[in-house]
Symmetry: C2
Subunit: 284 residues, 2 copies
């Protein structure tokens, strides 16, 4: 084969590869934004995307003995619970999932459902209709942190994560912010309910405001005393207890959204619940 | 380029493509079977697999305005509810998912979790520990029917589906049968709880036995009167009511597995619940 021909062939293969990536992913975003009546522009990035070339871009690939796509589905459908770290073989898979576009598409479908539901209900004009929002990996994204810490494949480090939170630099998850703003228009008041602790209130408020979240009804953080028991302890009990207090105070929880099943399990859950994707960590 | 060289190149590309398919899928099954101590043999098929070549094999592909992979995740995580048919654009996607290996891999992860959980609990020797099994798309697979009926993209046809059930030819979902048999070994008694009706009891018993299910504690079918209200009506209420009766009778529901959220939602759910994949239909 002549050198020129080999070069041409390589270029053709590269072009085909790029065309496949483009075909599989770019139209998604453009079509969604057209539907929303927004300008056709690149989607808001919450972290620089990784190029999806090579085997790392193959979301269905398996590594070692773990079918990473099946593992992720198991996590999202609440079958795989109580795990401490992403399987080591799946670090690359989870990284590509989080940064390659699939995470954002999956989040968009959840929020589309939530918005359609919110628009379908009658909101009483008494100002008592609320929607509960989790913060981390729901309203704000800690991808800039997790991208540097193995996407959940290394054990949770409370010290370094709290340092990151203290920067107040977490970007919004744009899909959740879209839901938040639509709810305000519909007269449903947002309530943040988070595993973050009271000592993190000021920076959390600043971070939320900086990212375009305003006008919330309440921001409920854990008493710092809870820290002693560990953040991973009894999230279901803590959060459902707080929702019970809201209900006892006369609020009607029309919706509840979080990235962990512990955000949305445990009565009173809210009239409808939404589970955003999160294959990076588990809080039980 | 010489003809021989072109031919060689084509062969190389083909080989690479086949290698990719093999790499992505075949080792899964072999490794699993080795772990189980079974013979290394092709996995039991519940329906002939489709070849996963060409764009139809690309599970992440989107069709029309729907991101089919995100839609499926939304279904499995109980975000997308109340849908009547698979989006028309996703018929091909769902067909490839169900027949291309991913469905079986995803089911295997769910059952692996269920088996690990069952092996971790102490089963009281009083014979009161039970595990609730749904039937359709859980213990038995109706893939042979749905493969001929658009994989859920065409509206549910009660007449033709009941004709199919009356054949008693539905294959087992091999993963669920593996769980079923392990539970019997562990002293946990299986109880079938199904939306099938009493008039289907004889053929259901025959079909289950033919597929290797024996030794169950109970087979609970709906009274035929429920048919008037439609099979899709209040599955949560019906099934949780039956589970309550089991509990009132002294049984301890240590586990509960189904392909629909309506199989596993509603107190008493059971000590732990497992959601098998099913992107073909929704029962609320």
């Amino acid at each position: 084969m002549a050198t020129a021909e080999r070069l041409l062939l390589l270029l053709l293969l590269l072009a085909a590869s790029v065309a496949w990536e483009t075909n599989a992913h770019t139209p998604t975003v453009i079509r969604r934004q057209q539907q929303d009546g927004e300008a056709v522009a690149p989607p808001p990035l919450i972290h620089p995307l990784r190029p999806r070339l090579g085997s790392g871009g193959q979301l269905a690939a398996r590594a070692g003995g773990v079918a990473c796509d099946s593992w992720r589905l198991g996590v999202e459908a609440h079958n795989v619970i109580g795990w401490r770290t992403v399987p080591a073989e799946c670090e690359g898979y989870v990284g590509h999932y989080m940064l390659g576009g699939a995470y954002r598409r999956d989040s968009a479908v959840v929020v589309d459902e939530a918005v359609a539901y919110a628009e379908s209900i009658r909101v009483a004009g008494d100002g008592k209709a609320i929607w509960v929002f989790d913060i981390d990996e729901t309203s704000l994204s800690n991808l800039p942190y997790y991208a540097k810490h193995g996407f959940g494949a290394t054990p949770y480090n409370d010290t370094s994560f709290r340092e990151y939170v203290a920067e107040g630099s977490a970007p919004a998850l744009p899909e959740t912010r879209r839901l938040y703003r639509r709810l305000l228009e519909l007269g449903v008041k947002p309530v943040f309910l988070t595993g973050r602790t009271e000592d993190q209130r000021a920076i959390t408020v600043a971070n939320l405001r900086r990212q375009g979240y305003t006008g919330w009804e309440k921001l409920l953080l854990k008493p710092a005393a809870h820290v002693a028991g560990g953040l991973q302890l009894s999230a279901v009990a803590y959060k459902s207890g707080e929702r019970q207090k809201l209900q006892d105070a006369g609020f009607v929880i029309v919706g509840n959204i979080g990235d962990q099943w512990s955000d949305i399990l445990g009565a009173p859950e809210g009239a409808r619940t939404f589970k955003l994707p999160d294959p990076m960590y588990y809080i039980g």
